[in-house]
């Protein structure tokens, strides 16, 4: 068995995602760019709007980011075809350029009260000319973590995932 933490998918810069427990998500990604640029891209509204967009069909028409400890941020995404939208907003607890961002965030779905806050700790480390990002997200509960990926999911996708679940269970039972 591999001693690696994950079995990364094929590709030059695999995104590594692990779920160390019920409420945490651990994300690692390597970027071919110096750290100050990666940090800038994570903290500048005009730049965030160019990449932090989610699945195809979504845009981020509103983006605010007050890059300092105690500053607030707010992202609004809209699906172009349906007009569906949702917001992630929060507060920056610590910001240490170009190495570290600690923040809390809530998800605001239309017609629903904001979720309880998650805690996110992001560290950027230089590796030669590259930058490694390690992001640890801590949700208030497993249900909150489950809900975090549901925002923006269409009915069709939900059905596909249910079909996939049934196939996997059949496979596990047959094995």
């Amino acid at each position: 068995m591999s001693t690696e933490d994950t079995l990364p998918p094929a590709g030059p810069d695999p995104l590594q995602v692990t779920l160390p427990g019920d409420t945490e998500v651990h994300v690692t990604r390597l970027f071919h760019a110096p750290r100050h640029l990666v940090f800038r891209a994570h903290t500048t509204p005009a730049l965030l709007q160019r990449w932090l967009l989610g699945p195809p069909g979504w845009e981020m028409p509103e983006c605010e980011f007050d890059a300092r400890a105690g500053g607030a941020f707010r992202y609004l995404w809209r699906e172009m075809e349906s007009g569906d939208s949702f917001v992630i907003s929060g507060r920056i607890l610590e910001l240490e350029a170009p190495a570290r961002i600690v923040h809390t965030e809530v998800l605001e779905m239309p017609g629903e009260p904001p979720t309880a806050a998650s805690h996110v700790h992001t560290v950027f480390t230089e590796e030669g000319a590259q930058t490694r990002m390690v992001m640890t997200m801590r949700f208030p509960s497993r249900e909150a973590r489950d809900g975090a990926i549901a925002a923006g999911m269409t009915d069709g996708m939900e059905q596909s995932y249910q079909n996939l679940d049934m196939l996997m269970e059949d496979g596990a039972a047959a094995a």
């Binding site: 692990t18 990926i149 999911m153």
Partner: protein, 123 residues
């Protein structure tokens, strides 16, 4: 084989290689703490600690067979973890691909903004 895909998802879910190995062993069949401590050459309390973490994550369940308490893989939770990770990737991989392209633009702009450094032949 579908089950090995589920196991892959579990391996990515666990930070500890020993717990991943315990899960792989349980995928071959249920086992008690005593039965697990033999191939892993670990004390039973040490095995129990790892099992508690796996149980808390909902990846294994405990059956009761008289005095035996064999642990089993919980396939529904493996499917859920795998699904969650796949959905997360679906959202975030395109984000990071776009960020890669943006960073290339930013690097070029950085170089363009410092022509004297290039003339000196640095980097």
């Amino acid at each position: 084989m579908p089950e090995s895909r589920l196991l892959d998802a579990t391996f990515t879910a666990l930070a500890d290689p020993t717990r991943r190995a315990i899960l792989a062993r349980l995928a071959q069949g249920e086992a008690t703490v005593a039965e697990l401590s033999v191939p892993f050459a670990m004390s039973q309390p040490a095995v129990s600690k790892h099992l508690k973490v796996l149980e808390r994550a909902g990846l294994i369940s405990q059956a009761k067979e008289g005095a035996r308490r064999p642990r089993r893989i919980a396939p529904e939770r493996l499917a859920e973890a795998n699904r969650w990770i796949e959905r997360f990737r679906e959202i975030w991989e395109p984000n990071y691909t776009r960020l890669d392209a943006l960073l290339e633009d930013m690097k070029a702009a950085d170089v363009a903004a410092a022509p004297s450094a290039n003339e000196e032949g640095t980097a």
